[in-house]
């Protein structure tokens, strides 16, 4: 009982703790692939700690919404990340939420962040908020279509059930799942503001999306936002890994040793995911903002196609 409780508590903390590391790994790999030395993989932790020590500068015009948003954004992202099974299927919160709820929580976070972008009343905040919402309008239906296709395969939208289903031997190689996988990757790239949709490391005015939104943040607020950002990336990587590569996740009722193995496997998966992401980002150039919908539209099409193919195959 206490063990279960401990595992319940470990999961959210682990998620939060690993998130900056994942970002660090991505950055490091990218740098190495670009033949740079790059910052240490713990650099994100250092950044966050430094930001936390600094005072926060608020614009004259900023309202309470502006300072409250970082807390809410981190909380919402964190809860969403906790809902994704990482190293064990029984997350405790499983029955409370399915994949749609996770999407909804992320949408809440985005909603708050976009409002915060508009709060100070600068044109950059507006640019960021407006573009972010535009991208979301394409990404969300795409995500839902993908969820739909998963639900068609697995008969449920509950993540742990999907993962267990994928893990089970009755599943052969499903074309729908492959399409969904590609779609999920595209969504993950778009939602996390990675290249080619957005460049997380640029502050070039006209190309910013996410960074423009949070331009006015500083100090502890910025730290929270950075942490939330990393957590979101982690969330997507874990999501993809648990849905498409659920092997090694500890089943319900496993002992502590099995859980330890599962945690290590999970970290390994994150590591692989981070490397692949870095590789992907390097091989592609950033797009113009108005081409992004077409890019994400591919995910939507894949989702639809996956759903349709699934419908066809079931009827055969």
């Amino acid at each position: 009982m206490t063990a279960t409780l401990a595992l319940q508590v470990i999961q959210p903390i682990l998620v939060l703790l690993l998130a900056p590391l994942l970002t660090g790994v991505v950055r490091k790999t990218k740098a190495r692939l670009q033949r740079r030395r790059g910052p240490s993989i713990v650099q994100p932790y250092r950044d966050i700690i430094r930001l936390l020590r600094k005072e926060s500068v608020l614009a004259h015009n900023a309202s309470w919404l502006f300072s409250a948003t970082p807390y809410f954004v981190l909380a919402a992202t964190w809860v969403a990340a906790t809902l994704v099974p990482t190293f064990r299927f029984d997350t405790g919160l499983g029955p409370a939420a399915d994949l749609i709820v996770i999407v909804g929580l992320l949408a809440s976070a985005r909603f708050a962040l976009a409002l915060a972008g508009l709060d100070v009343g600068t044109s950059f905040g507006g640019i960021g908020a407006s573009r972010e919402m535009m991208i979301a309008t394409v990404a969300e239906p795409a995500m839902l279509m993908l969820i739909f296709s998963l639900a068609l395969v697995a008969g449920t939208t509950r993540l742990s059930d999907i993962a267990i289903f994928v893990q089970s031997p009755i599943l052969g190689l499903r074309i729908s799942l492959m399409l969904a996988f590609v779609g999920f990757v595209i969504i993950a790239v778009a939602e996390n503001g990675r290249i080619p949709v957005d460049n997380p490391s640029t502050h070039l005015e006209l190309t910013m999306v996410h960074e423009a939104m949070v331009l006015e943040y500083s100090g502890r607020h910025l730290a929270l936002i950075e942490l939330a950002h990393s957590t979101k990336l982690l969330l997507y990587v874990s999501l993809i890994s648990v849905v498409f590569f659920p092997w090694g996740v500890a089943p319900v009722g496993s002992d502590m040793a099995r859980h330890g193995v599962a945690i290590l496997l999970y970290i390994a998966k994150l590591f692989v995911g981070a490397n692949l992401l870095a590789l992907f980002e390097l091989t592609i150039a950033k797009m113009r903002v108005f081409r992004v919908p077409q890019f994400i539209g591919v995910a939507l099409m894949l989702g639809l196609l996956a759903a349709l193919l699934r419908l066809v195959s079931r009827s055969l």
Partner: protein
Amino acid sequence: MLVGNVLLCVAALIGVSCFAVWACRRPWANSAIYGASAVFCAVALAGAIAALVGGAASTLTLPLGLPWIGMHFRIDALAAVFLCVVNLGGAAAGVFALGYGRHEHAPQRVLPFFPAFLAAMNLVVVADDAFAFLLSWEFMSLTSWALVVSHDRSAETLRAGLIYIVMASFGTLSLLLAFGILAGPDGHYAFSWMRARGPNPNETMIAMFLVLFGAGSKAGIFPLHAWLPLAHPAAPSQVSALMSGVMTKVAVYAFVRIVFDLLGPIDWRLGMVVIGVGAVTALLGVLYALMQHDLKRLLAYHTVENIGIIFVGLGLALAFRANGLTAAAALAVTAALFHVFNHSLFKSLLFFGAGAVQAATGERDMDRLGGLMHTMPRTAVTFLIGAAAISALPPLNGFASEWLTFQAAFLSPSFPQWGLRLLTPASAAILALSAALAAACFVKAFGVTFLGRARSEAVNLARETDKASQFAMFALAGACGVAGVFPGFFTNLLGPVAQFLTAARIPAQAIAAPWSPLLPVAASHNSYSGFVIAGCLIVATAVVAFAIRLVANGASRRGAAWDCGYPDASAMTQYTAGSFAQPIRRVFATIAFRAREMVFMPAPGDTAPAEFKATLHDPAWDLLYTPVGKAVGFLADSLNRFQFLTIRRYLNLVFLTLVFLLTVLALWP
């Protein structure tokens, strides 16, 4: 006699209305009339809840109307649910107007009609024969028309009123024709008779389309929505809230009552039509809304979107029911009705907020607002909650009902028909798209209105709205929260309705333990617990805040905005409603509304300002209303010559008619 109690409330409301004719100019009239309206609505609400919990249908026949049938009234579970929606909205609007109504310049044009409007909506829901139904239906249109034209000095308002009343009558006449079919040649107008009549596929199909036109024009399905964004904003805000939040729901009630209850079995293809219409309505509704910069018009268009969502749910229910999938049908209908309830809450709330803003600043144009968060903080909070709820964000109620709709859509593989299997995922995607667009739309609405810096002087002079209005807004915001956190409680209440409409109900949810999740389909494990999610969010926020307080530098300093180093930008450089929507306009509206942007740059050296112009074409107007209007105008012009003929030509008409008729007689076999 529950129905008797409700009818007494209706009678009392009509009495208040008559009293208002006499009293409307007295200083105390505002409080008295609105207070009384709110009280009677609350009483009727209590009656409706009693009926919902009590279960048994209650009927009453009064010797009014057409004496040989009388006026039948009935409260069953379905009516009770909608009575709750109507009276909750009515009571809230009454309380809101206690304060807001004092801003009214011409109370004598509003006060007498407000209670009558409420009474009419109640009557529609309890009516149990075609005559009583249409009488109250059209009376509802009429009273709301009077409220729409209450600010009669503006030509735009009058135009809105005209279009509204014509469309309303179009709807009424469509319903009248539908009832003409259902009543049969002998005129059996009682609903009980219509229920008992045998099925007839052809008649059912025609009637279904007529009802879709009739109820749909009132609810605002595309392309019959054209009156809605004109009329809703034109009325005073408490009325806008009622029209958008409640009256459209009465239209949904009409659709459900006739199509689900009276028409009998319905072909699955018709369900497909409803799903398609709903999906198109949802998508176009929210796109329209995104293009607006008038706050109330934006909200009105947004009603169109939500009606689309509700109709998708109803269409799914029809399709499931036609295939005998009663459990799935129950889920879809529960989702749709739950969304009806939720939408009435947050749409009323948002219109109250818009009204408060309008009363405080005199502005409805978002491009002249901004920064109201500072001057009207409480209104801002409630509006924010409403905006989040309508954007379907967890853990609020909008998310709960959309989640249920998605769950219903996920059951589409059980359809035997190909068309439905393909259409349902597509419409689910459209629903997701419109939900995302809705979020964008409300980021825009809230952000441009309440956040940023003031764009006009009026904003700086604005003061927080009065206590009564605040109470109404906070109550509705609280209700949004409660319905989001405890959705199981509400779906349980909807159980009898689903049972009545689809002969099945979703599994009863355990509401004794608040954390137990909503589990609509036993077979799949899909579940959602608003309570747990809300709790997690609160705990997580608290943990984060506590941790930050513990470890971080808590100092804050106020400074100039950074803005990448541009100092002292004018408030005019902020993103406006139009610029916020620009990316979405480019992505979506280029196809839907043929949106075009043109930039006129002066030649180098020329000091003339550059000009930017965005044009939109409304497909409903371009393809439907304008041609119809032109056709009527053309015919009127052509026939108008008959006013100016000479006597000889008039005689000629008589002569030709005579000869024609005689020839017909001569050729008669």
